[in-house]
């Protein structure tokens, strides 16, 4: 009896798995339902490009109208999606079958590069610049692929709390390692990647320093992290 039932039961379980992962993998703005994230210049540039494309195709749309429409649509879509997926949440959780495949869906045209400076004798000295082979303080940790993921996030405004915590960790490390230093500063050099033709013409990518954090190292000396 069991020999006859088991193939059907097994096929049923496999069908459930296929439905569960397929439904979860259908594109959705998971993790992107944050109005502050939508104000990022890269995201805004995409809205502008699509508004222009729709307008050129005979459907006049402003960037603001498109953004408002997409927000309303996304809210409704995510609500329905949650209703369908919610019963399967325990399965995803215990089997590790989440499907987060939103990988490089749009190039980040306004990237940020972490700079860490140290103040010694009243002068700021560079200590670390991301991907710089010379200024490589703690690069064994900060350049590790897992830590790159964290640092990529911390340039975004919605992660400023975690960015500050990372800054405190850096202050602890620097306070112990550089007794002569008085301050540490973290900031992001943010720039817009320019078109290849302009690079070929000799133009340099120019940006500005954003979100500076400064810590007085005396506050971190002699403390446990």
């Amino acid at each position: 009896m069991l020999q006859h039932i088991w193939p059907h039961a097994r096929a049923g379980l496999i069908a459930f798995h296929i439905f569960a992962i397929g439904a979860l993998a259908i594109p959705a703005p998971q993790g992107g339902m944050n109005r502050r994230a939508w104000s990022n210049p890269t995201v805004q540039a995409e809205f502008s490009a699509w508004a222009a494309r729709l307008t050129a195709a005979g459907r006049p749309t402003t960037t603001e109208e498109l953004e408002a429409f997409l927000w309303d649509f996304a809210v409704a879509y995510m609500g329905q999606r949650k209703k369908i997926l919610e019963p399967m949440y325990p399965y995803y959780k215990w089997s590790g079958t989440h499907q987060p495949w939103r990988m490089f869906i749009a190039p980040h045209r306004n990237p940020s590069k972490l700079h860490i400076d140290l103040k010694v004798d009243g002068d700021w000295q560079p200590l670390y610049i991301a991907r710089d082979p010379e200024l490589d303080w703690r690069a064994d940790l900060l350049d590790n692929e897992r830590f790159r993921s964290a640092l990529f996030r911390y340039a975004w405004r919605q992660y400023k709390g975690s960015y500050r915590q990372f800054g405190r960790w850096a202050a602890h490390e620097a306070a112990a390692e550089f007794p002569e230093a008085t301050h540490i500063r973290l900031r992001w050099y943010q720039y817009r990647t320019i078109e290849p033709a302009r690079i070929r013409a000799g133009e340099e990518q120019v940006g500005t320093f954003e979100s500076p954090l400064t810590f007085t190292l005396d506050e971190y000396r002699g403390e446990q992290p």
């Binding site: 193939p7 097994r10 096929a11 496999i14 069908a15 296929i18 992962i21 397929g22 993998a25 259908i26 594109p27 995409e46 490009a49 699509w50 089997s95 590790g96 079958t97 989440h98 499907q99 987060p100 495949w101 939103r102 990988m103 490089f104 869906i105 749009a106 190039p107 980040h108 045209r109 990237p111 940020s112 991301a130 991907r131 082979p133 064994d140 940790l141 350049d143 590790n144 692929e145 897992r146 830590f147 790159r148 964290a150 640092l151 990529f152 911390y154 992660y159 975690s162 915590q165 990372f166 405190r168 960790w169 990647t193 290849p196 033709a197 690079i199 070929r200 990518q205 446990q224 992290p225």
Partner: protein, 332 residues
């Protein structure tokens, strides 16, 4: 409804030699081992709470690590050692199902400690390991096989094929899902096809620092952008191609064409090239290694067996000493 269901049940009951699942086990075991070792230098920094030496305040862990009393350094190191042992067990093929399950649960517990310090490669590995929990992957090319039969391979072994089918499906879902979400004007035909160029300029993921020299190779990056996008959105065709291969005897025009152009092999070749390209130019964790470890699922066990026989024959020929060169003078 009953007929399609019966066909689905029969498909999920299909058996094949154990070589393809064994190749998957070895590949995924090596990828899991690499992932477990790579994280070691930063583990304390990312997975310990700020009070214990980490860089940020973490939520109290639930599940496995909560039951173990929290994320202390000794707990972390113990669990990481468990992942290394499990990965090795998978590679050599000793209790690989249990090893995959334990690795999966420990890996999820560890990576959930700090969701900021990870990437899609974590979920990709989790998904692959979950399928390996159900795969009889140690029937051949394993220490278990050696202990049971006295040989490293067992050509008579027959295993259920459905974990391999689901591995292919998972790969297709990864590519298709990401491809369908690439709606940026830099990815789509009609735009500037500059996506790969601009992605490679991002310092966060660059393996070699300044990549602005790619400006002189922009047309190449445009072609690659289009190629990657077509590869990803076309990934579901791989399922059609595999169906075409498995039903060659009754093939209609579409299936004949798919088999004639060797779609599956072309897909595999492009995918391998793409992942080698990602690995050589970008630092995005073990994503390429895990993806490539899933590729053995594209080939049937019989094809793996033929490849294995060819390699064995080649090795035999190399080991057999060639006859000494004739030194006697020619007659006459």
């Amino acid at each position: 409804m009953i007929r399609p269901w019966k066909r689905f049940v029969a498909l999920m009951d299909r058996r094949e030699g154990g070589e393809a699942l064994a190749a998957l086990r070895i590949g995924l075991g090596l990828a899991a081992l690499s992932a477990a070792l790579d994280v070691w230098p930063v583990a304390d920094l990312i997975w310990l709470d700020a009070e214990l030496g980490g860089y940020r305040k973490l939520n109290d862990p639930e599940g496995l690590i909560g039951w173990l009393g929290g994320a202390s350094a000794s707990t972390l190191h113990g669990l990481m050692a468990v992942t290394v042992v499990c990965a090795l067990l998978m590679v050599v093929g000793v209790v690989p199902r249990l090893a995959a399950l334990v690795y999966l649960q420990v890996h999820m517990a560890l990576t959930n400690l700090n969701g900021h310090a990870g990437g899609s490669y974590d979920e990709l590995l989790d998904n692959a390991l979950w399928l390996m929990v159900f795969a009889c992957s140690h029937a051949t090319w394993s220490l278990t096989c050696r202990l049971r039969t006295g040989k490293w391979s067992n050509p008579d072994a027959q295993v259920l094929a459905w974990p391999r089918y689901l591995m292919v499906l998972q790969l297709v879902i990864v590519y298709a899902s990401t491809g369908y979400q690439k709606v940026s004007s830099h990815w789509l035909p009609g735009g500037d096809l500059g996506a790969l160029y601009y992605i490679l300029q991002q310092p966060s993921w660059s393996r070699h620092g300044d990549m602005s020299w790619l400006a002189w190779l922009f047309p190449v990056t445009q072609a690659m952008t289009l190629g990657v996008w077509l590869f990803e959105i076309g990934a579901p065709l791989l399922l059609v191609a595999l169906w075409a291969r498995s039903s060659r005897t009754t093939a209609g025009p579409l299936r004949r064409w798919m088999n004639r152009v060797r779609f599956r092999d072309l897909f595999g070749l492009f995918g391998v090239g793409m992942h080698i390209g990602i690995w050589s130019l970008m630092s995005v964790g073990p994503f390429s290694a895990i993806s490539l470890a899933m590729y053995p699922a594209l080939w049937h066990a019989d094809e793996w067996r033929r490849l294995s026989a060819r390699v064995a024959g080649w090795r035999r020929r190399r080991q057999t000493p060639s006859p000494p060169a004739a030194t006697a003078p020619r007659a006459g």
